[in-house]
Symmetry: C2
Subunit: 148 residues, 2 copies
DNA sequence: TTCGAAATGTAGCCGAGGCTACAAATATCC
DNA sequence: GGATATTTGTAGCCTCGGCTACATTTCGAA
């Protein structure tokens, strides 16, 4: 089969490739809140025995009304449940998200520190960066930290 | 002056420190769109001679109506100007933002690649990560790349 | 020069995630 | 047990950044 009949290489026009990168960043942003809540709820249950909306709100630095609305979204998406005045619980899917998010969060902090960022900056920046690190990049982080 | 009369160390309660990290991430997110637009408009003017709303929209993967609305925000915040049917231009402040954003974007991609992330993943992830890298962390990135 | 295509702008809708203010339920303390 | 404080929930508002649909302006080609 001569070259002229082969399908073209899957190299997207650079314009479209750029649009896809922006798309991906937007979609990562859309799940950032869910990841932060799942991670935090899991932490609160582990350390305090329960995750109450008021504590979640204080830790996040938002009003309790905002926290309750976001918790409603977690429930809507099947990540959490809650009984009236009984705190918030994670479903199996929520636990999984929390676990993955916590692991990624830690790896990001560790990598930033290993590169030479001040601890405080690393911890602050990781809170936003974590939501945009793909599995491939995360794997590279892990390899790098092991090598060191 | 005995220790007991010194003001306490500026070590915030960990709860409040966490809230501040989340707050910082939220505020970084609020400027992400401005940074992406500024960088893109600057690139378009450099490579195409002009930055038209339609081209901006296609590059970002959004509708032209969305692009126009975001451009309105850039104008509102003193970062851009535009004449009807004459494309978009950056103010001095806009140029500065574009320059800083582009430099940060490149450094982030370079660092991810240096760590061992696949090029495509590095470029995709950088589009989101860049908005959360503080000056201190950025400086650490630069030092690391120079050392190598 | 005219007319159709392309670009630009406007209007109106949506959901997410902020907020304040108020209402109701529960917990706590005397 | 009853008053008070805390927690939780609801209602209603805002901005941002998505979208579609439609109107208008400019451009380009016949
Ligand atoms: Mn996190
Ligand atoms: Mn986070
Ligand atoms: Mn960028
Ligand atoms: Mn970006």
């Amino acid at each position: 089969m001569p070259d002229k009949y082969r399908s073209p290489p899957p190299t997207l026009p650079p314009e479209q490739a750029q649009a896809e990168r922006f798309e991906k960043a937007r979609s990562a942003q859309a799940t950032a809140v869910l990841e932060d809540y799942a991670e935090l709820i899991s932490d609160l249950i582990a350390t305090e025995g329960e995750a109450r909306p008021t504590d979640i709100a204080r830790r996040l630095g938002v009003s309790h009304a905002t926290a309750i609305k976001s918790i409603a979204r977690l429930k809507r998406e099947g990540l959490a449940t809650s009984k009236l005045y009984r705190g918030v619980f994670l479903t199996e899917a929520g636990e999984n998200l929390a676990r993955r998010s916590r692991a990624r969060h830690r790896l990001v902090v560790d990598l930033l520190v290993a590169i030479g960022a001040p601890r405080a900056a690393a911890e602050a920046d990781a809170e936003g960066i974590e939501h945009h690190v793909s599995d491939e990049t995360l794997a590279a982080f892990a390899r790098y930290l092991n090598r060191k």
